[in-house]
Structure formats: structure tokens, C-alpha cells
Subunit: 346 residues, 2 copies
């Protein structure tokens, strides 16, 4: 079931001859960050993850060096947040084109620095090289005190599906950049949900960040746990208001803000019913109001009320569209809109 998704299949083919270390606590795909035991007598685990900003730059989705720097840190810290880890630091490798101005470099570095400060973390070194295109790779390392963490595995039927925040900003930003029909600037500068993640790890049965959009995240959790999700009837109220406005003005149905491949970097997680009230109390303690999205169902399907019916989303098809993103954003959106049209007419 994991291999129905081209990306999962590709990862599995890449690593097929890589033996795993007995220090690696999680299995492949099962965690946003690798969980590592550094020594046998160690009291804590480490969480470690790497992510590059490449296609977002190449397609023009990110064209502000400040945002590129910011995101190179945040995408990695978001993976640490998703396992409940406290970040220690991040290493940054930069490929800089020779026509990259010193002013742009200053912006890039400021974006990196500001993102670190925002999440109370530090630069643990880096590497710079000259290349044809700007590429920034981050590798973040965090600590899991007393070996406590949350992974993508463990959710059960009737667990309650939550998000750390309102959804849709990632794909709304993509609509804004590629198909803008508004004059107003659309702000996109996600912050990794570090503090939220540290509470989530104590209560949630599973957690994953929405780096590839909400639908991809739910789909992956579905495959890994062989369970499904049903979103609540009022899920449109859980979409960020500006994103909703932007989608409406572009005649794009709100469900596509969940379906697109560009994420809002919230955490989706599941809370067993009996832990819900204690969890919500702890959340209140940091002035955080988690967003209830739906419920875990027995059947491994994604069910969302759209166009006044409960639609079973073909998330395999939708996720595999993103493997063809190199053929252009226009074609990608066209394919998504075709699926939407089909849904409308059914």
C-alpha cells in the first residue's frame, strides 16, 4: 500500500541496500525525523532530519532570498516538531550561483538567522559551494528527553484528528504566486510548531507535519496505519480565512487547498478520546487552541464532505500527480481541477 505512491516507492528503491543501524529506533517512512539512540546508556534520544529547498526555488514559488533562508530552517524544524523534539541546532549547506548578489546573500542569511531565533535554535555549521542554481539544504538535530517521542504510527479507530492550526496557507500561497488574481500581498512565513509538538508527543497516538499538504499527510498516515479519516462537516471553518478568500476569488474550491502539494507546516495528529480533555487543558496552558478536524475510521479511506456529499477522495491519484510537477505547475493544476470537476459532476 505504501508503494502505490510513487514517492514512497522511489524512496524504498533508493534505500533497498542500506542496512539500518541498531541505533535507529523508527522504521523507514514511520517518522518525520529519524529517532536515534546515541549510546546504550543514554538517557535521551536524538531526532535528526534533512531537507533541501530546490523545486520551490526552481519553479519560482520561493523567489525572495529571505523566505528561502527562513524555509530552509523551518521545514527541518517542523520535522523535529512532528516527533516532539526540542531543537538543538541546524547545519546549512548552500549552493550559490555566481550571479547571486551580496544583497541577496545578506537576505538569505537574515532569513536563516531570524528563523533560528524564532525557534530558539542555532547554526551548527555549514558548507557553501558555487553552482548554477541556488539550493539550500538544512539538517536539523534535536533532543527527545527521556526517550519520549511521537511517530506516524499508532493511531486507532475513533481517535480524534487535530491540527495545530488553520489549514490551507501553503497552497493558497502557491495560487497567489502562480495564478494571482488579487492585488493584495499574500503572507506566507510558517513557523515550526515546536512547543505544540512537545505537548502532542505526550498525548497523541500519531503525528505528521503537513509539509506536502494536508491530503498527502492524511494519505500517508492512512497507509502506514491501515486506518482512514473522516473530516467533520464544518471542515471549511478550519481553513485560514485569507486562504479561503484567495481560493474563492480564483474560483478554486476550498478542498483543493488541502489537496495541493505545498504545505502549511502545521502538525496533524490524533488524540485518543480518553486523553482529549487532559490534552486540551495542557494546550490551553500555552495559549494554544488545537483545531479539531475529524475522526479516525476503521476503513483505510479518506472521506471528506464536499459538494453536499461524503466524498471518498482518490488520494493515490492526487498524490501521484506531484511526481509530474517537473512537467510544470500549469499541468499539475489542470489535473487537480479535472479531478475536482469529476467530483462535482458525480
Amino acid at each position: 500500500m505504501i508503494n502505490q505512491i510513487a514517492e514512497n516507492n522511489f524512496i524504498n528503491s533508493l534505500i533497498k541496500n542500506f542496512p539500518r543501524s541498531r541505533l535507529q529506533i523508527n522504521n523507514v517512512h514511520e517518522s518525520d525525523a529519524e529517532i536515534i539512540e546515541t549510546a546504550e546508556n543514554s538517557q535521551d534520544y536524538l531526532a535528526i532530519t534533512t531537507d533541501s529547498i530546490v523545486e520551490e526555488i526552481k519553479t519560482g514559488l520561493y523567489d525572495d532570498p529571505y523566505l528561502i533562508g527562513w524555509m530552509s530552517v523551518m521545514v527541518n524544524l517542523s520535522d523535529l516538531a512532528a516527533v516532539g523534539s526540542k531543537p538543538l541546532g541546524i547545519l546549512v549547506s548552500e549552493i550559490l550561483p555566481s550571479n547571486f548578489s551580496s544583497k541577496d546573500l545578506e537576505k538569505l542569511q537574515t532569513g536563516i538567522s531570524d528563523a533560528c531565533k524564532m525557534c530558539n535554535t542555532f547554526i551548527f555549521g555549514g558548507d557553501t559551494n558555487n553552482g548554477d542554481n541556488l539550493i539550500v539544504t538544512g539538517t536539523a538535530i534535536g533532543i527527545l528527553e527521556n526517550k519520549k517521542f511521537v511517530s506516524r504510527i499508532g493511531l486507532q479507530e475513533n481517535d480524534i484528528l487535530y491540527s495545530t492550526g488553520l489549514l490551507g496557507k501553503g497552497n493558497a500561497f502557491a495560487i497567489f504566486k502562480f495564478f494571482n488574481s488579487m492585488n493584495k500581498i499574500f503572507e506566507y512565513q510558517p513557523i515550526a510548531k515546536i512547543n505544540e509538538g512537545r505537548i502532542i508527543k505526550d498525548f497523541a497516538s500519531a503525528c505528521m507535519d503537513t509539509s506536502d499538504g494536508v491530503l498527502s499527510t492524511l494519505d500517508q498516515l492512512m497507509r502506514l496505519n491501515n486506518k482512514g479519516f473522516k473530516l467533520d462537516d464544518d471542515w471549511e471553518n478550519k481553513i485560514d480565512k485569507d486562504s479561503l478568500k484567495l481560493a474563492n476569488s480564483s474560483s478554486i474550491h476550498p478542498w483543493l487547498l488541502l489537496a495541493g502539494y505545498h504545505g502549511e507546516f502545521e502538525l496533524l495528529f490524533t488524540i485518543p478520546q480518553k486523553l482529549e480533555s487532559e490534552f486540551l487543558m495542557k494546550a490551553k496552558g500555552i495559549n494554544w487552541i488545537p483545531i479539531k478536524l475529524g475522526v479516525v475510521i476503521k476503513e483505510p479511506k479518506l472521506k471528506i464532505p464536499i459538494y453536499r456529499k461524503l466524498v471518498e477522495i482518490d488520494s493515490t491519484k492526487i498524490r501521484n500527480l506531484s511526481s509530474n510537477l517537473e512537467n510544470g505547475i500549469d499541468l499539475y493544476l489542470k489535473s487537480l481541477l479535472a479531478i475536482d470537476k469529476e467530483m462535482r459532476s458525480n
Copy 2:
């Protein structure tokens, strides 16, 4: 003095607004890998480092995907070796061009896998993206048991300069790839000196790997410690025999095998005289014969017997040539040969 070197200066400008964490044990430039204390009560330190393979691919120096995979692991493990760390694992981020064949991808992954096995380490995750050029970034993490490590700082006058092995292979390989005058294949597949590094950390006053060639390494140690080096009269005997042959057949003086920017990934380190015999005994215990190269001198100068005189090498000039490598290998070699010519005629 550090800022006389364009690369150091550039690094300092990049990080000028990055605050350091109180968990970071070393200062910038002072260590091949960052030394990290993960928690206040922790028994060990972590060592962590990142390095990308970019220019080596772009210039054609590395054109075999197996070697590219191998090097993406080894350059990082070599940094861990230089601080005396035992590797735990490595994360790999790959930028793959769309015309990269599945056969080449298989070779790349095998190179990565073989390098890990050779050094008894593991893949701790990764990331793949589509891009115009092949780029591989590794981030390695290791442990320093009982917080013992060696840095680039601490060498004293009269300490003895050693290398883990024979020198020159890195630059000989570059000569072979770019200016080949021999029919025979020149083998280049360095192995990080992990076991040697773990002995070195117990005895050496300073250590650094030769990732940028021997002269760059000595120059950086000189600047950081405000001490110099004098190589022994017989230093040519410490050059790898095949490399020497290749240089001779290309009419390139052996000292240029130390001067070029492409390294052999040995460790250069300094041993206080009073520890030398015990150090050599420990080395013998793992069937390793360290190569004695010279001695630390009071004056911060690099003195090498070349053309029957003791030459004071202008390593500032030589190192800064590498900042112009983007203007082409030919120009770089031409500039090096001009310095050699000047030396001959003086």
C-alpha cells in the same frame, strides 16, 4: 590573519549575525566538525558536520556516480575522524537531474552504501529533489565518548608533524582527470581515517584533515595557532609513489601535489615530543605506521625544502587561487605553475 584567506573571510561574513549556542564547544574555524554538548548531564559530546559534492561534479573531476556516492560519505566521515569521533550515521540529500539514468542512480547508491559499510556506519535518512545538476550533500553525526576530542587548536613549537598516510593522491587524481598523460587508470577512493583519528585524539595537540590539500591544511593550522611548520628534507619520500610517477610524467614538481586544492583526505596532526613514543606504540597496535612530516616552528611560516633551498611558501597567495576555480581549472593550474616557476628562478 584568518581573514587573509578569501574562503575564511567569506565564511566569517556569512555567519556574522549567527549567535552561537552555549552547547557549541568549539569556535568557528577551530574544528573540522562541530563539537556539541546535547544536554548538561550528558556523558559524551556529539560531532556533526556537513559537506556537499558540487564543484567536483561540475568540473568533471568526479564523473563516476559510484565515486560521487562514495565521496559524499567519506568527506564527512573524514571530518569526524579529524576530531577523533566514532561515526553514528549520515544523512544524504540528493539533487538528481531528470536525465540521470536508473543505472547511474544505482551506482550512486552503491557508492554511498559501500562507503558506509567500509566505515561501519549507517544512513540516518535523506531527501531527494529534482534539479539541473547532480549534487549530493552529506551530514554526518558521530559520538565523542567521555567528551574527549582533538581540534585544530593547541599545537606548540617543537611538536612533531605527522600524517596518517602518504600524501598527494588528491591532486594527482586531478592531474590525471584534467591533464592525463598516462594510459593507466589512476585509482582514487579515499577512506576516512576513523580508527587512526580515535588514537590521534588521545595524543595530538591539533588535527585537521587534508580535504583541501596539504598546503591549505598547514596554512589553516598556522593561522589558527600562530605557529609555523618546517617539513623534513626527505618529504618527497612521504608522497604516494603512483602520484609521484604521475606528476613526474606530467613534468609537475612534487611540491605541487601538496599545493593543489583537491585533497587526499589524510589527517595532519601534531604530537608533543614527550608523547611520541607512547603514541607510536598505540598506532602499532592497529598496524598503522604514521608518517613523520616535519616539526612545528615558532614563526607562523610554512618552510619546505624545494629546489635545494628552504623555501618560505606564500600559502596566502596559493590558497586564494582556489577562490577563482570557477574561472576554470586551466587558469588555476597556470597560476600554480607560475608560482612554481618563480620559485625555481629565485
